[in-house]
């Protein structure tokens, strides 16, 4: 047991030390806020940073309302039972699907069938589908953990189901719903496979001008540098720098989620 613990900790420390020592060399304001230069041998990652931000934001704009509404339906309306069962199987299958499959589906569905091409829109929608099962399951749990007493009290006062959802269940469950949403942001921001065929481009000196443009993205940028790079001595350090930025981004997002969750637990009084 103790050995396992030490091993795990060792790997983690090695990983972090490596990431920070290698990544920190190239990290600077310039690195964050300028575009790549000289066929990605120099310069920064600004377009990729913006691209990841836009992709993530777009996926959340789509997935959050859809996921939350689905969870509300499942917990409060949920009829007929066979439909609920089918939906649950579908959600759990989605949750267990490898992300590359989402990429292929996104390409077939959004890029080709709907004609969105390789674009911010296609990538955002593909990531939204990836985030959907996480958001649905989490929201459902959050709503179900609201004590039944509150629901009964609300209905007994003459509230309709809709009023009970909007005035009692959602406000009570909101902090937990938000925590789950933030965790799914972390997951979406780091995904490579779903955007590979749907949104990402190797190299662009310009920021996307609209939903129809291709974008750079942090995880794909790392992939591109490491697989397609022609000048490893200059490009590997940039890849480490990009990795470190992505890592810090995801860690701080998770930290925010943990902070929100613990502050809820402290305040909760039922």
């Amino acid at each position: 047991m103790a050995l396992m613990l030490v091993l795990t900790a060792l790997f983690l420390v090695l990983f972090l030390v490596r990431m920070f020592s290698q990544g920190a060399k190239v990290l600077s304001w310039d690195f964050l806020f300028t575009a790549p230069r000289d066929a990605m041998r120099a310069g920064g990652i600004y377009p990729a940073l913006v691209g990841t931000f836009l992709l993530t934001a777009l996926s959340m704009v789509v997935a959050l309302p859809l996921g939350i509404l689905t969870a509300i339906w499942l917990t409060n309306y949920g009829k007929p039972v066979w439909l609920v069962n089918i939906l649950r199987v579908a959600i759990n299958t989605l949750a267990g699907t490898p992300s590359i499959i989402f990429g292929l589906f996104g390409m077939a569905m959004f890029s080709n069938l709907l004609g969105f091409d390789i674009s911010l829109l296609s990538g955002g929608l593909t990531l939204a589908i990836l985030a959907l099962p996480v958001i649905i399951n989490n929201t459902e749990q959050a709503i179900s953990s609201v004590p039944e007493d509150f629901r009964e009290a609300s209905l007994a006062l003459g509230a309709t189901t809709r009023q009970t959802v909007s005035r009692v269940l959602l406000p009570t469950a909101l902090p937990s719903i938000l925590t789950g949403a933030i965790i799914s942001i972390g997951r979406v921001a780091g995904e490579t496979a779903p955007i590979m065929f749907t949104a990402a481009t190797f190299y662009s000196r310009q920021l996307p001008k609209g939903l129809g443009d291709e974008v750079m993205a942090l995880p794909y940028h790392i992939y591109a540098l490491m697989t397609e790079g022609t000048h490893p001595t200059e490009q590997v350090p940039i890849a480490y720098g990009t990795s470190l930025v992505l890592l810090l981004l995801v860690i701080s997002i998770s930290a925010a989620a943990i902070w929100i969750r613990s502050s809820i637990r402290r305040k909760r009084q039922w």
């Binding site: 509150f150 009964e152 609300s154 007994a156 006062l157 003459g158 509230a159 309709t160 039922w270």
Partner: protein, 252 residues
């Protein structure tokens, strides 16, 4: 002759195949306290929940017979359940205020009904808190969380919350079973005061409590209404042997 505010007529209820209530006909007289007593599982809470249709929430529930609020059929196909529930207030066994402010708890019923001005709501909140004997204790902190109140205060808040709808009937489902003796005494006295304005139907495990506060007592056993009458009569000369056995503590 006293008016009947609420009644069930030959009411039968099944949860799935389980026949829970058998031909129950219970009148609840206007501006009186009616107590329902009986051993656990006898159907008294289920009967209570028939009157505000809270049993509708349980899948597989089937009801035959009638329930009336005044002259209105509670189970009429076109009955407005929300409106019905706003006319029949309910207080639960465990105090269940919302995790909202004291003010917003009491205002909840009016807010969902809509059509009340801010001033009206705030007047009604004050009126209801006064009626539930809570005003003096909370008037300076209406915006603090209801969760910060003691158990007894929370239960009186739930009473105030139900009263804010100005209901015809207030139903209480073992309202003091989670409370200490002092809070219990306060709620009992409160019931005696409230009955001048609202009809009270209370389910209780506590026989002595029924004796202290009720005008009418209904004794339920295995889903049947075995005995109903003025509390004094039921407690002194019960017509059914099983009532007598229950009252004297032979079972229960």
């Amino acid at each position: 002759m006293v008016d009947i505010q609420l009644q069930s007529l030959d009411l039968n209820l099944w949860f799935g195949k389980n026949h829970v209530l058998h031909d129950v006909s219970l009148p609840v007289y206007k501006h009186q306290v009616t107590a329902m007593i009986g051993p656990s599982g006898c159907g008294k809470s289920t009967l209570l929940r028939c009157f505000n249709r809270m049993n509708d929430l349980i899948p597989g529930t089937r009801i035959e017979g009638r329930a009336l609020l005044g002259d209105a059929d509670i189970y009429a196909p076109k009955a407005d359940v929300s409106k019905l529930r706003s006319r029949i207030g309910m207080v639960f066994q465990k105090p269940n205020p919302f995790p909202k402010s004291i003010f917003n708890n009491v205002a909840f019923g009016l807010q969902i009904q809509g059509g009340f001005s801010k001033a009206e709501i705030s007047n009604r909140v004050e009126e209801s808190l006064k009626a539930a004997w809570l005003w003096e204790e909370v008037k300076d902190r209406l915006s603090s969380s209801a969760m910060s109140l003691s158990g007894g205060q929370q239960q009186r808040l739930c009473i105030a919350r139900a009263l804010a709808n100005r209901p015809d009937v207030l139903m209480l489902d073992e309202p003091t079973s989670a409370l200490d003796p002092q809070s219990t005494a306060k709620i009992e006295e409160l019931c005696l005061e409230l009955k001048h304005n609202v009809t009270i139907l209370i389910v209780t495990h506590n026989v002595a409590q029924a004796g202290r506060i009720s005008d009418q007592t209904a004794f339920m056993y295995l889903g049947e209404l075995l005995e109903f009458g003025p509390t004094e009569r039921v407690f002194t000369v019960p017509a059914d042997k099983r009532t007598e056995a229950y009252l004297t503590g032979v079972f229960g």
